[in-house]
């Protein structure tokens, strides 16, 4: 919790809006202005599973120190939604500021002594200044940004530049927007003590950085990976992965003269069809992927098992929302870990990647194709909604021009021509992977792929030994996978310690912040962030060298911990769960207090 002293460049603004009222671009403008002032910042959108009329919140964390996780506190509340006013007021931390539309009187019960309430007659001001009814609604948002620009001391030039970029294609909207900003600013300067103690001061910490969401980065990664076929069915919160892929393909993969496209995106009739298309395309030699969320993964189970057993590459990006069932489609969770790892009936295991930020979303999109083709198996990228849908500050993307995709063992025309014989499932070099061939390349390459029992030569079988030989080889391949998947990231404590912490994906920001806070309490913990399943030897080594390991994850059933127990040498006692799964991104305080508590108990016992 912040106290008055350190609110400079260190606070949280929460903006309570109604969805469909155009607040998104104003809020984004606000966040982006701070970023352009060189101050580390994140913006999170808590939106309803609905199109118009329900409450939505935008949360901006400003952190000069660069902590970007959900803070779990609110210093400034912009309460624009009458429906949630009471709740919003309650959520404001003591000492905070509440900005509201004072055009109408507030209800009495909604007051608090320990916060400062700043009323701005937003509706009145806009009704006076603008005539178009839609503009009257939209401009209220710009006015409160103006108010905040005075209260927080946002650089006006930065705001103006951003407005000009925003409306580059609709230039005539620029003056009105600037006017609204000015109205807000003037009102604040006139009526309030500006700036507040909670305010900004330009830094130089965002140079060479961009603000991007994970899904956009994933789509971009698929372009750079050389994916050409994408099949999908719309579902929140993964839809923007495909939106991104499409928009970058339009930008980079269309022949400006002929209009020819070097990609094919198919909006499938459902998720079963989408993954079927991916398998068909991969079998036929294209890099192909789909994106979906939990319900889609459930529907893809049968096909994923086929991919595993018949050894077809496939990439699936699962942007995880809150389950089970339809759950809360616009809230974050990490509850598809086990379902993804073991999707499908029978003995199946899938390679899973856990990106922790948009940069990794980009990188792992590329990794996933390399792994899927090298290992000839489905690879699932498990993205948290919080990473996928929200804007994060990451280093600029740079491209390694030397990168060449790893297409795995694929025999080309010449190799097939020269081969004495080609057997699809014959592992020659002991890594558990046999060479494949694409249709239409050479007559010797023809083979028959099936999800039913087959022997190592690719023939149909109901013979026990032949069947088992193939199934067992897949375990050899699993061992190979362990050597190929991305290695974990180790963040060593400042002091040597036997206490460890393992986490993955979107928990990273909060855990890193928590580690610092704990260190300040003289609690030192080594932190290992796993980036993939199966676990590599580094994970084993970490487990071996720590007596007690916290496993932090965002699901109820300790799914990551379960995988660690099942697939590493970790003993059950060694691992202690810290679970947080109510749909909000993880906050450092959750981790800190869980560890404090656990250690305190241990001290007593």
């Amino acid at each position: 919790m912040s106290d008055k002293e350190n609110r400079l460049n260190n606070f949280v603004i929460r903006l309570a809006n109604v969805n469909g009222t155009g607040s998104a671009s104003a809020n984004n403008l606000l966040m982006k202005s701070i970023f352009r002032m060189g101050i580390p910042v994140t913006g999170k959108n808590y939106f309803p599973s609905n199109i118009q009329g329900l409450p939505t919140w935008y949360e901006i964390r400003v952190s000069g120190d660069g902590y970007l996780a959900r803070a779990g506190r609110t210093d400034i509340m912009v309460a624009m939604n009458a429906q949630t006013y009471g709740q919003d007021l309650k959520q404001l931390d003591a000492g905070g500021y509440l900005i509201y539309d004072s055009s109408w009187p507030r209800e009495k019960q909604f007051t608090r002594e320990d916060v400062t309430v700043l009323g701005v007659p937003l509706a009145k001001m806009c009704n006076e200044a603008f005539t178009n009814p839609r503009a009257r609604i939209l401009m209220k948002n710009m006015v409160y940004v103006g108010v905040l620009s005075a209260l927080l001391e946002i650089d006006e030039k930065v705001i103006h530049a951003l407005i000009e970029e925003m409306f580059a294609k609709k230039e005539k909207l620029i003056p009105a927007n600037k006017q609204a900003i000015a109205m807000g600013k003037e009102y604040a300067l006139e009526h309030f003590n500006c700036p507040l103690d909670t305010k900004l001061k330009a830094l130089d910490k965002t140079k060479n950085h961009i603000m991007i969401d994970g899904n956009t980065a994933s789509g971009l990664g698929c372009v750079y990976a050389g994916a050409t076929v994408a099949a999908w069915y719309p579902i929140t919160p993964s839809t923007t992965v495909m939106d991104s892929f499409k928009s970058f393909c339009k930008q980079f993969r269309e022949n400006p003269e002929s209009g020819e496209r070097d990609y094919c995106i198919i909006q499938a009739e459902d998720e079963l069809a989408a993954i079927g298309m991916v398998l068909g395309a991969s079998w036929n030699g294209a890099r192909a992927f789909t994106s979906t969320s939990g319900p889609g993964v459930s529907l893809m189970g049968e096909f994923l098992g086929l991919g595993y057993f018949a050894e077809i590459p496939a990439v699936l990006i699962d942007v995880q929302r809150v389950g089970p069932s339809t759950g809360m489609p616009t809230r974050t969770q990490q509850s598809d870990i086990m379902p993804a790892a073991f999707a499908s009936h029978g003995d199946t295991k899938h390679v899973v990647l856990f990106p922790a930020n948009p940069k990794e979303c980009f990188e792992m999109a590329i990794n996933s194709f390399d792994l899927a083709e090298r290992l000839q198996t489905p690879v699932i990228v498990l993205q948290d909604l919080d990473i996928g849908m929200n804007d994060w500050m990451v280093e600029e993307f740079n491209w390694d021009g030397a990168y060449q995709p790893d297409r795995g063992k694929v025999l080309n025309e010449k190799e097939l021509e020269e081969a004495a014989a080609f057997y699809r499932y014959l592992d020659i070099d002991g890594d558990g992977i046999a060479a494949r061939s694409y249709p239409g390349v050479h007559k010797k390459g023809a083979y028959f792929l099936r999800g039913s029992g087959h022997n190592k030569f690719g023939g149909y079988t109901e013979n026990s030994d032949e069947y088992q030989e193939v199934l067992d080889r897949l375990l050899v391949k699993w061992e190979t996978a362990k050597t190929l998947v991305p290695k974990p990231v180790l963040t060593k404590a400042k002091k040597k310690t036997k206490i460890g912490l393992i986490s993955s994906g979107g928990c990273d920001y909060a855990v890193l912040e928590a580690m610092d806070r704990l260190a300040a309490q003289n609690i030192f913990i080594d932190y290992l962030r796993v980036k993939a399943f199966p676990f590599t030897q580094e994970v084993e080594a970490f487990i071996e060298s720590h007596d007690q390991i916290y496993v932090v994850e965002q699901n109820r059933d300790a799914q990551l911990k379960s995988l660690l127990i099942l697939e590493t040498k970790a003993t059950k006692d060694q691992l202690i769960s810290i679970l947080d799964y109510a749909g909000m991104p993880l906050a450092a305080r959750v981790v800190v207090s869980a560890i404090d508590e656990h250690l305190a108990k241990g001290a007593v016992a």
Binding site: E260, E269, N284, F397, L449, G451
Partner: protein, 351 residues
């Protein structure tokens, strides 16, 4: 039993096609279906069709679902890649395969269970997308492989050996395909190879989704007297509405017909299809007319066969997508990756 091996020896006298291949080069593994199963006749017709069309076997891709019918992809074109996928989902696999490389001849084999029960949705959407493939339903009114339950194509009043009577109306893939925007809709009968082979040839040559619904009796579970998908019943109610001949690109149309008697449709591969109608009040190139004709006859219990509707002008999936001429899977990586130059643009946008 059909497992008795046919010798794979090439007789000196076997004729060769333009590629110098004999019909044996278009055969596949030995069938494990029941002796007399209609599906084996469809397999034979496919072998013939591909042979006559001079398709190099490795340039075809065989895709199927699950069922006795779907097994048959293993019994023809041994020199092609085959993909025996999961039940009812062949259309999606075919879609992906075709997306990756539009230059292969995609042949999909399915059953009535596979396409009209579990696969009804995927079937309709493949039709709608005008996926460039030849889609064969080996239609026997039952689930053969799971021992003879009624499928959704079972006719009202049809009776199983065990005594169950089907009281639900049949789903007719032909009518559905016409309604769903299909561009080539045909029906054949496994017992009439003479009709079936040209139908299949035309279907393979068609640029777009070509449905060939083949009545293909299941001798083990649905070939008794009270079945409406038996050999005997089909022969009795069989009605050839349109005779079809596929004419090779270089061939000339030899026969001459009187005006109104025959229609020639040019195919995208340069060949053409010659349609001879039996009934005058029906135009197989007009969707409304075709639908009306088939629907009327079906309501009278007739099994109308032939190339029932054709529209060679609708764009297929790749045309709509404006996909590059080079198959996607063959595009060099350098062409696909926007490199650092692209990255700079991206960074600029998100700064």
């Amino acid at each position: 039993m059909s497992y008795i091996a046919k010798p794979k020896i090439i007789h000196g006298g076997l004729s060769r096609n333009e590629l110098g291949l004999t019909i044996r080069d278009y055969e596949g593994g030995l069938s494990t279906l029941c002796a007399g199963c209609g599906h084996d006749s469809v397999t034979a017709a496919l072998v013939q069709a591909f042979f006559e069309l001079n398709v190099p076997p490795h340039m075809a891709a065989k895709i199927s679902g699950i069922g006795c019918s779907s097994k048959t992809t293993a019994y023809f074109l041994g020199g092609s890649h085959g993909f025996n996928s999961v039940h009812g989902r062949m259309p999606s696999v075919a879609t992906g395969a075709h997306a990756a490389h539009g230059g292969l001849s995609v042949i999909g084999i399915s059953g009535d269970g596979d396409s009209l029960s579990i696969g009804l949705g995927q079937f309709g959407h493949a039709v709608r997308r005008n996926l460039d493939m030849c889609y064969v339903i080996e239609n026997n009114g039952v689930y053969g492989l799971t021992k003879g339950q009624f499928s959704a194509s079972a006719d009202k009043g049809s009776k199983l050996k065990k005594g169950d009577i089907n009281e639900l109306p049949p789903l007719d893939p032909v009518q559905m395909a016409i309604v769903q925007g299909g561009t080539f809709v045909a029906r054949g009968f496994s017992g009439d190879k003479e009709q079936l082979v040209p139908l299949l040839k035309a279907a393979i040559a068609h640029k777009g989704f070509a449905l060939v619904d083949v009545i293909s009796p299941c001798v083990t579970f649905n070939d008794h007297t009270e079945s409406t998908k038996s050999y005997a019943h089909t022969r009795e109610y069989y009605h050839q509405a349109v005779h079809v001949d596929y004419v090779e690109p270089r061939e000339e149309i030899k026969q001459k017909y009187k005006a109104g008697e025959a229609v020639t449709v040019d195919m995208h591969d340069g060949g053409s299809v010659l349609l001879r109608k039996v009934s005058k009040d029906y135009d197989p190139t007009d969707r409304v007319s075709a639908l009306q004709y088939v629907n009327t006859r079906a309501s009278k219990g007739e099994i109308v066969t032939g190339l029932l509707f054709i529209d060679e002008d609708e764009p297929d999936l790749h045309t709509i997508n404006r996909t590059s001429k080079v198959p996607l899977r063959d595009l060099p990586y350098e062409q696909l990756c926007p490199g650092q130059k692209g990255m700079d643009k991206v960074n600029a946008r998100y700064r």
